[in-house]
């Protein structure tokens, strides 16, 4: 592990004395390579979707490459959770941006996503081309109940987490019943219901704020 330390001195040199630009460029190159390795590894080893890869990303960026410390990583994770969209790519993009600028962001995103997207396209296209073979038809049929089971456990996971959150059993049940009726029987786009729920969450005052307001009104 001598390379990163060369890189470190290279950066110092740039700041301090404006030394050898080549050294600095070498350092930039090194950094991009590290970004790529960090996100390629955590992407290709993270099975089961983005959230399961978070500990792997932590291991690479905090332990292996020391891009940041554990607290900063926690901050970024909280930040990513406050925004919509896939967690893992948000983390990759942001960390890549911080470490290596715009190029670093693209680099990290490509390293996380592209290898598995290519695998996916190759495998599924091959499967589709053989669709008329009876054994391939059998294979694809057998996989449906397995996916149903995985989704059922994921559903149960969401319900369980929901009852343990600030909503509790009663509100979870009401939310579930209401959105089931609205989505399945009234045929409202789920996006609209989610949007309303998000706006409500942002606008509703919470208990602590209410108490504060009461205190202000009756200062006795």
């Amino acid at each position: 592990m001598t390379a990163p330390s060369t890189c470190f001195f290279g950066m110092q040199a740039e700041k301090g004395h404006g030394l050898s630009k080549q050294l600095v460029r070498g350092c930039e190159h090194m950094k991009q390579k590290e970004i790529f390795i960090a996100f390629f590894r955590s992407g290709i080893l993270g099975f089961g979707g983005g959230p399961s890869a978070i500990p792997l990303v932590h291991k690479e960026v905090v332990d292996t490459f020391k891009f940041m410390d554990s607290d900063e990583f926690g901050d970024i994770l909280a930040l990513a959770n406050a925004l919509p969209g896939p967690i893992n790519t948000k983390m990759a993009g942001y960390i890549g941006y911080r470490v290596g600028g715009f190029l670093g962001m693209l680099n990290a995103l490509i390293a996380t996503m592209v290898p598995t997207i290519i695998l996916m396209i190759v495998l599924l296209t091959a499967l589709n081309n053989l669709k008329d073979q009876p054994w391939v038809a059998g294979m694809t049929k057998a996989v449906v109940p397995v996916v149903a089971v995985m989704l059922a456990t994921l559903t149960w996971d969401f319900i369980k987490k929901s009852t343990k959150s600030s909503l509790g059993w009663v509100w979870t049940f009401l939310f579930v019943a209401a959105s089931l009726v609205l989505i399945e029987f009234v045929n409202i786009h789920p996006g609209i219901i989610i949007f309303i729920a998000l706006v409500t969450a942002l606008l509703k005052k919470d208990a602590a704020e209410k108490n504060e307001a009461k205190k202000e009104r009756n200062p006795a």
């Binding site: 099975f47 890869a53 396209i121 049929k141 109940p145």
Partner: protein, 176 residues
């Protein structure tokens, strides 16, 4: 215009899917199966199976594959871009603001509020998949494969990639 449709099909799930990739799965299904009818429930479940068996983030894998199916390499790039870019841009643009409010109870409440809705969407998808399987291979095969994979996944904690590989082999031999 297929590229605009691809963009919208993944932009909406990307911007509404709070809590990471898995919560955008049913939203993607709603767009590509119900809304644009690019694939059947069965094809979607095959893709999801493959997505679960392969490593990497799930939402981007689906966006990449569906985009490719509908619009070639450019479609694939647009699908992934629509999934990733909006939240990425928000994150970089609102950094200061977000750092201040990320611990705010209101922001945390957002994930809490949409969780039951996602649960409903996932539950409906589960039902669709079970029904489609019952339609294709009958109740006994569905029950047998379903219960066995539940036992393997949840009780014995076998890795999903192995369970899916096992189902593929079983189907190739016994359901051909």
């Amino acid at each position: 215009m297929i590229y605009v449709q691809i963009f919208l099909a993944f932009f909406i799930p990307g911007i509404l899917g709070y809590g990471g990739g898995p919560s955008s799965i049913p939203l993607i299904e709603h767009e590509v199966v119900d809304n644009y009818e690019w694939m059947t429930t069965n094809e979607f479940s095959e893709m999801l199976a493959m997505g679960n068996a392969l490593p990497g983030p799930i939402a981007t894998k689906m966006a990449g594959y569906i985009g490719y199916e509908q619009g070639g390499v450019l479609g694939s790039i647009i699908g992934v871009f629509a999934t990733v870019a909006p939240s990425m841009i928000l994150m970089l643009a609102l950094l200061g603001l977000l750092m201040k409010y990320k611990e705010s109870p209101r922001v945390k409440r957002m994930t809490n509020y949409i969780r039951p809705i996602i649960a409903v969407l996932l539950g409906v998808m589960t039902y669709d998949f079970l029904f489609s399987s019952y339609d294709g291979i009958g109740i006994w095969q569905t029950l047998f494969i379903g219960l066995l994979s539940f036992f393997l996944l949840e009780k014995l904690k076998v890795h999903p990639a192995f369970v899916i590989a096992g189902a593929l082999v079983y189907g190739g031999i016994f359901l051909a």
